[in-house]
Symmetry: C2
Subunit: 153 residues, 2 copies
Amino acid sequence: MSYKNVLIAVDLTEESDQVLAKAKHVAESDGAKLALVHVVKPIEHVYGGFGAVGLAGDFSAQMATLEQQAVSHAQEQLAKMGESIGVAADRRFVPVGSASREIHRIAKEEGIDLIVIGSHGRHGLGLLLGSTANGVLHGATCDVLAVRVALKD
Amino acid sequence: MSYKNVLIAVDLTEESDQVLAKAKHVAESDGAKLALVHVVKPIEHVYGGFGAVGLAGDFSAQMATLEQQAVSHAQEQLAKMGESIGVAADRRFVPVGSASREIHRIAKEEGIDLIVIGSHGRHGLGLLLGSTANGVLHGATCDVLAVRVALKD
């Protein structure tokens, strides 16, 4: 009945610390391994399909660079988080794509038995994780712990 | 960071045992107290507003009796569950009403810090808990653990 392999999905807001702390507590109780994931939205999902409307090549390249920067930034943040709570480098994931789909994919590939995500209480599950949190819950083939975080504002 | 007061929401299907076992494990790890809740749907929500269309008094009374029987049945089931995992009689709740609203109310009144509910994987969160599970997650002022249960069929 104990958890052996815990995946923490973070949105990289300040509130991620609260999710990490809770996940670490649960994992320590059970002696579970930890993994970290942050999913980067494809740039065309953030700013619409620029490519499709025939933008100049330069602009298109800048968009791709932005996405790559988001990935690099997330990798740095996950490295810091991973070091603070003991997640090996090869257990930190920064995929680009649909958050729920990528989280489910990694959960399956890594044999995860508990996904831990943040929730913002009355605002629903997450602002950034937001609409994807439902997807994570509904499609999950393992347990999901929604950690209620206090918003810092 | 540990849980002190865990509320287990059960739908009284066979799969409830899996939710109980997981909740018990988490509670034992943290030395938490347990509570149990099963929310009975008001009979008029199940079969439409019979009262409103001017049914004979006898039929209306039979409906009320059905609801009361559902409550009694749930109380018996919760008593069995409670005895098996050590939930005191005054910590077993069978309210009639909206599942998410009643679960949130009890969670607040009892100072709950973790709600544990069942999820049926690709069918989404529960069949009976079903659409209410989203409500439980979204409105919760505490953490929510969705336990993925294996369907027996």
